[in-house]
Symmetry: C2
Subunit: 319 residues, 2 copies
């Protein structure tokens, strides 16, 4: 089943959520949007390419979900409230069944966060999905990478390593755990947690390239050093089953990519409030390190031995 | 010469223009921007894929220019003032010389319009460039597709057909005119004209898919009919030389794509003001038709005969 470009655009437009701050949505040269008075605009843009950012056999609905999720995760890491998005979809051929399935996943997540698709384009090309998301935050409330302070605790949400374990299973052809694969295909952007951390945490980043690599970005931007205990990192039951060897598990947790959890720093006095924020947002939060003077990231195991990851994180050009 | 993802991001960040309304630019999970009070945000997003939107042999600097130009053209068609953009660059391999050349073209146009690159991503994949642009406009001042009125004149800027002629020359291997090729590779977004048309013209659209096809979008959105004289369309000297046959020339002017000129409607009483706006913006403007009751687009030649194009316009999935 094939469709022209304009039919695809109509299909997409018919499924968008209404918002009163969208003056003019899909269908003109550009969208007209009314930002709320006094707020700052928060903007992120991420592309997913087939075979690079998701396995070729990924279901279209999962691609739709993930394309929006990785972008919402960036807004979550700033503590912002999502509002709008644009979508550029490159397809080898127009396939309305594929687009409908893609939109099923995209819309399911958009509705959870009341995000309206306001524009973009559909075009011919190798399968690629580019999304730009827009959110709001009050001035001075953003969680930036450059705000970590000496003596801050270092926290992580959820159970990092699950998505990387799924990817290892997928590429090695061993028995595949659907629970892990769901964490790779349908990451949960921690928007609710990010909103609660604004005003509570200091620095934050979302874990897309691997926990240690992303934490190193925070340390560089804040001119501090991170000391952490890799054995304090939370592991899901599925990860423990998939990676019974401790060092393999540590590597997946500390340097696997695609988690889309939040890593953040906060003053010691905020511990109770952060535990509460995690409970309210429905995601566990775990302390696993501390910010000290210096630079770089130093990881040790529970017995105090220095630990070095096999791989420092995902650099999309290093593969 | 190769470079990692983070080195590429640093190269890109080092070249951006400063703007006081950019609170936080490239380098965090998201950008923080301060929209001007009381203004609406105008947002457009367009992707260029290699071999689809530009010939494979296009110089990287021209790809950089065009990727921003086609987006600024969308803002121009709304009458908006450009401000910021984001860029997602997919490259088969990291090549810092290629990226530098790409940025030469991108920056040259960005500086002309004081547009700051505030974020995006670089990643591995088939060559593809996705840009989102952001501009401002006062409420009620946007030039929308749905605002054409019966008895409006229909105008076009510049000399449509040049880019399509260059594409025909390129694909047929005949002698290639560099003046035409420059119109394909380095289109001029009509931002200055769009700003002057806001409050003067009624409906507007940028000609990316072909003049008749784009005018048909205006007619559909406005529930009106367009009657036009294809022989009133302005032709450049280069186009006349490349396409001496009148019907070939008409087809290129009326249904060639990639012009990035503005097609707009305006009340008869605005003729002098529009001529002045064109002079001030440094681009000729030409009346070639009229809006009437009904639907669709009807084209005639100078002798009054009905004229039908060989091809109605670019549908990116119809090729």
């Amino acid at each position: 089943m094939t469709a022209g470009e304009f039919e695809l655009i109509d299909r997409i437009a018919a499924r968008t959520v209404a918002r009163t701050d969208v003056v003019l949505g899909i269908g003109d040269d550009a969208a007209l949007l009314q930002p709320p008075a006094g707020m700052q605009l928060v903007v992120a843009m991420d592309t997913l390419n087939s075979g690079i950012h998701f396995p070729h056999d990924t279901a279209p609905a999962d691609i739709g979900w993930k394309a929006l999720a990785v972008n919402l995760s960036d807004l979550a890491a700033m503590g912002a409230t999502p509002a709008w998005c644009t979508l550029s979809l490159s397809l080898p051929e127009p396939d309305s069944a594929w687009v409908d399935a893609f939109l099923d996943g995209f819309d399911a997540l958009a509705r959870q966060h009341a995000v309206t698709l306001v524009g973009g384009d559909t075009t011919r090309g190798p399968l690629s999905v580019c999304v730009t998301v827009f959110g709001f935050i009050a001035p001075g409330r953003a969680l930036r990478r450059d705000s970590a302070c000496v003596d801050d605790d270092i926290w992580v949400s959820g159970t990092p390593g699950d998505a990387a374990a799924a990817l290892v299973q997928w590429s090695s052809g061993v028995t595949r755990d659907p629970a892990l694969r769901a964490r790779l295909d349908r990451p949960t952007p921690r928007v609710a947690l990010g909103l609660r951390l604004s005003g509570l945490a200091r620095a934050a980043i979302d874990i897309s390239d691997g926990l240690l690599a992303d934490l190193a970005h925070v340390c560089r931007a804040s001119a501090v050093r991170a000391e952490l205990d890799v054995d304090a990192l939370p592991a899901s039951d599925a990860l423990r089953a998939a990676a019974p060897d401790p060092d393999t598990r540590r590597a997946l947790q500390a340097s696997g990519g695609d988690d889309y959890e939040l890593c953040f720093t906060a003053p010691v006095g905020a511990r109770d409030a952060i535990e509460t924020a995690g409970k309210e947002a429905g995601v566990p939060v775990t302390r696993f390190g501390r910010i000290v003077e210096g630079q770089g990231v130093v990881a040790t195991t529970a017995d105090g031995a220095l630990w070095a990851p096999v791989r420092a994180g995902w650099d999309h050009f290093a593969g």
